[in-house]
Subunit: 291 residues, 6 copies
């Protein structure tokens, strides 16, 4: 029997699927290290390491309608790629799917958020786990650089956005965040207040039932996630990010994991990413079951 080259346990065909995973092998605006183009395939490969059963939620992933759509055909142009991605995500939402995007770089999140925001209407918010503000208005020649994604979301899509894990940015970003009352929590905030409390506040602030959840893996400390485009020491623990994803998944209409650069470790980061994606699905599915 031949097995398809897809994520393990993603056994459903497109039609019957609720969760549609897809990769976007694009990293062409990367500023420091490139290589997140290889992340979707790396995460597929490492996914075979995991058991399908999730004991926390008593959910077996093989029983869930998960589909792996493959990778988006990309251009080297960020604008073209963002345009195609936006169209495809709109298609997924219209077909009633929950999109799970595996980047690729963080700039991609702009298109998926845009498609979700249009689909969701007013009752919508964005929660980003990231070491970086990504609030630049332009970077290294591109408005849609990965370092600008939060700014583009804030200015063009929604102001209902919370960032968790922040610890790096040029002075202008810290000023912009303050002057615009951006809601954010630094990694040190999480260390002192606890992730549970931070999430409680964030959920209250967002006050929406349709969330876009974006995990820039550099939110996590490099001890757990060394394979990154722009690693930043003194980050969140793997367990705290697990807590965030388990807590937020039931409210989420879409999810992404971006900025893994698998050439810079031996699978550690892709494995943690794949695991967190599986926690997202299990938590979301459990919440559906309970209803």
């Amino acid at each position: 029997m031949f097995l398809p080259n897809s994520f393990i346990d993603a056994l459903a065909d497109y039609e019957s699927a609720c969760y549609v995973i897809f990769g976007v092998p694009f990293d062409n605006t990367s500023s420091y290290r490139a290589g997140s183009r290889w992340a979707p395939d790396a995460m597929r490969q490492v996914s075979a390491n995991f058991e399908s059963y999730n004991p926390t939620f008593d959910i077996d992933l093989v029983d869930l309608p998960i589909h792996d759509a493959g990778n988006l055909e990309t251009s080297a142009s960020v604008d073209e790629t963002l345009r195609d991605l936006y169209e495809d995500v709109k298609g997924l939402l219209n077909d009633g799917k929950l999109p799970i995007m595996l980047g690729g770089e963080h700039s991609l999140t702009y298109s998926t958020v845009k498609a979700c925001a249009e689909f969701a209407g007013d009752d919508f918010g964005v929660l980003i786990l990231d070491a970086h503000f990504d609030l630049r208005s332009e970077y290294r020649g591109f408005k849609h650089n990965h370092a600008c994604v939060s700014r583009n979301i804030l200015e063009q899509i929604t102001k209902n956005l919370v960032s968790i894990g922040i610890r790096s940015g040029p002075e202008e970003e810290w000023v912009f965040a303050m002057e615009n009352n951006l809601k954010y929590y630094t990694a040190d905030d999480v260390e002192s207040a606890g992730m549970v409390e931070v999430l409680k506040e964030a959920i209250e602030w967002l006050d929406c039932s349709q969330l876009y959840l974006s995990l820039d893996m550099d939110a996590i400390d490099p001890a757990y996630a060394p394979g990154l485009g722009t690693p930043e020491p003194f980050g969140l623990s793997a367990r705290d990010v697990r807590t965030a994803i388990r807590t937020l998944a039931p409210f989420s209409m879409a999810f992404d994991i971006v900025e893994i650069a698998p050439e810079y470790d031996s699978g550690q980061t892709a494995m943690l990413g794949a695991k967190l994606m599986r926690e997202f699905i299990a938590s979301h599915a459990k919440s559906c079951t309970k209803v």
Copy 2:
């Protein structure tokens, strides 16, 4: 547009395909280095590096009916895996396909050869490019160890077998080869006589129109192919192996590439393997066109 996670240019569905590529991620009898289990996926990934057009044969692979069937579901037991593989290859042959197997270890070749021999009947031969005789009758507890594949073929399937590239084996294997008049050429024979002459002799000796062609990548010198299970210095040049594959493809009813261990280089060996597979297909397709 989402792209499937398959070999680049393998665009056909199963029904319309002539060439069916499949992986067998199995290396459980490996004696020195394991890791050929990762070779099929590694070759898929690196295949994206290559142009679809082959100027030597004026063939564009996108125009050929090539299908990627994915990977065989394997057991950790070599006997179970060989049994399933044999059944699946029989199915491919009965469906009129030319099977292209990407190992995995060399023991797998036993099943594919067996299926082909039964399908082909008398007009059948086997040509193996390998640094090793693989003539042991048993090794480290297994009759179907990768170090025994030629012995098993000779004793159970056909004596019409030629080995090229040989340079390593226990004394018993050299004695067995001599006493049984095994037709073989060492890597040094190829160096002195030339691959063209060696192939001419081999083809005459085999005297068949249905060939099984097996490339144990360790036939090639580690300078070109460092990522191997059992590398052996002083091997064939990449160009000589290309000559062999281009020459023999038109006669071949099946092909395999085995023993690549991608953890031991940065894609070099998987890339050479993927390229040689593409030369095989182009050469074979060209010969069909000419008829």
Copy 3:
């Protein structure tokens, strides 16, 4: 002066030794990543990094009777290897040695536990640090797959077994564990209750003076131990595992460290493993001294 190629500070000959370290370079049932076959040699090499003196126990390893017996000659067959290993460990116990096995894969533990159980009689228990239950009755064609070792121990040797660090397994294993009242602690249990409390309970439950202690390195979080066969995020901290080993060593009649795959990091995991082995010896030796 020439130095033998053995663990540093393992200066005793076999006869005078109390602690006998040996490697078993076997990983042929590995399901995800192979490579634990290289762990014994990797641990020997990195052991040279450490000081012989242990300040916690005020013990100098050079003063202890430690012998490095080299590596077991293995077959590629798990059954043959387990049989030979069982015989050799029986020999060690009969000679009054404390066996310290460095795997290789976890399936090996079956033979060492079996030999110890027969030697110890009723006053015997097993404590396993592992991310996985290893409770499958069969896996990928083998009853003695590394994923089955706890099941085989429970059914064939002793029910007096505790697992610590558990966080992964198919649903059947969680059900089996519950239905059979298996005593286990998840990594999250340790996080919340504390390792000291968990060990206290485990020791009470086991209620024996002759313990077999087995450390599957994947019990530890991949941040500390990335070089593993089947890494699992959200694991035990290195310090907690040190606490377990220091606490349990005085009761232990044998010890093993398994599942390190040194190809997947730059020595980090082998080094932590070698260090923990040295903590085991120092703690055990100190307890003997005190008596």
Copy 4:
């Protein structure tokens, strides 16, 4: 005494320099593997491995006026980067320098060739060592993709261009080359005719005294140069490329080495590149001395 962080033996200041080496850490249109952004720094680091004296030309590099200008400040936009690069190279030429560019990707060559062509006037030609035609008119969204550089040169700058080492391209490129009488030699042509003969023909065809020489490192066989963006088997030998560079340097007004991706080996390709750059300088300097 503190040493500057520059190429070894590049001891001259800008004013007194004849040879000005600079890096361009840009790879943002890369199609397969990124990473040539790291090549300039990697080549600086490995340059310390080499002796300053060149016995073939009896030239000591420490006696030559070589300056390392550092790296060009790049944008992530290829158009911006090409514009800045063009201006800077014009500046170098106007200051009487011989520019030596270390990429970065091959698209950069467009700007350096353009600046040189304008400076040189009619007596000008381009010789490119490359596995690829780079004749696409557009690729993955960019007219200035690295896969288009020869096409852009031919159409916008000069038709006096020869390519050596070619072995890969889509069918359109082979057709375009034939229909436009592009002068090129495949790697197999070099293998059969010999590099000396090929160079003789190329020099006659170019018939100019001011040459731009561009070395896309993938011209070389991956056995010698595994660390590449788009490696292509069956390439030129390191010695043949050395012959080309030694022969052509005296006619050359500028030189570049591009497409080294140092993350994919352990310094081998950067070292060969740095060595070939030093052969270029020594050969050029010797020819000046002789006059």
Copy 5:
């Protein structure tokens, strides 16, 4: 515009600089793993990953007078290298600079401490973060082995020294430390008492306003810093070391980071080191501003 090959944000020339960073690529007495010779260049390269603005101290590094002097020209002889280093650091101090040395191995600290002690006079102390005592009087043939640096400082320069992070040493060192009332804190001491309390005690004990701060990166746990010459498990957390550096920088007249071996990871340790150096500068500069 060409950028110099120096630490990012080190934009000042020597004359106007307050902070002078320099590398010493020397590791010739290394006992276990060599390779810290590559650390200064590795840290330069990874420094480009970081934002210039430090939000904790509201300081932008581009506004500070930081100069990168390049690397010291080293001999393979530790005595020659130490002599040259001493002279150069004296020069820096006499020119009113704050020297920041990036090793290289820990033996180098002897020269920088000596130069600082002579410059500072009585009001001087040394604080070393290290897993090791480095109290040997001689090691592997050298009095100035990296394993002897604290002993040499104590006996030849000053007894006003505190070590934090200690967890490894031969028995003689623990005895020597006790008999000589050496002030030290183990990593477990920090774990139980907290870094803030430990620093408070250390500062009181040192009772000086001119501190030499030395960070042997192996003080930090290998989870955060795997790329080391002599890694030692169970170390300090990255955050605790950040606390130490932030706290002590205002009192410090010089700083070094040593023993990073960048070949043994993918930039993780060099990145943490570069980040900590930037925390040192920002904290020190802030304290100057406040006065």
Copy 6:
């Protein structure tokens, strides 16, 4: 059955051995890359990849009296290490052994040559395969730097020395070689004249029956041997070096392989080195048999 941690097929005890292999893990004068300290252990590990039977000489290594003495205990001081090495090699020669040293760096060869020269008397010569002259009189503070070994041999031991493979050195070395009529062949000489002819001339020139044969692995092209301390492009082919070793072994009283740096590849260079050592032993043993 436990196997010792030694070279495969080195089954003899010291007393009965003819060939005594030992490692010297010393690289403390290394100028570019360190790491040859790890070569002896790396070569031991990879030796398990090879068959014991050598078909060229019809010799089975398991039948030969080969002993692995382990590694020399080294100091970090080259003078101390050379002194101990000299004493130990004298002991080996006095015991009637043929010493086979696996470095470590090339400076070690001084001691082994010195011991052999004293033992052999007048009928003695030295043949070195090397990319480098190693003719410096002093380097980076050491008279016994690895870059000085040939100079030290010439001036203190014997002038009967031939170098093959030379392609790098400062101008002084080329001048010294010419002025002192040093007999040497460049790698390009071997390329044009052929290794067979070069060896014929070298043997005539040396005119001795007791040869010391030293293989600095950087003689070989980095395509075959990338894992080196100071790699130099455009080197000898692996086959040519095999020819040299097979031809010279019968005349050789000792042999060494030095300068392998195993951290810089995935076993390729250590494997080629181990293979060449086995060719040396087989060729030597065959010549003894024939007498």
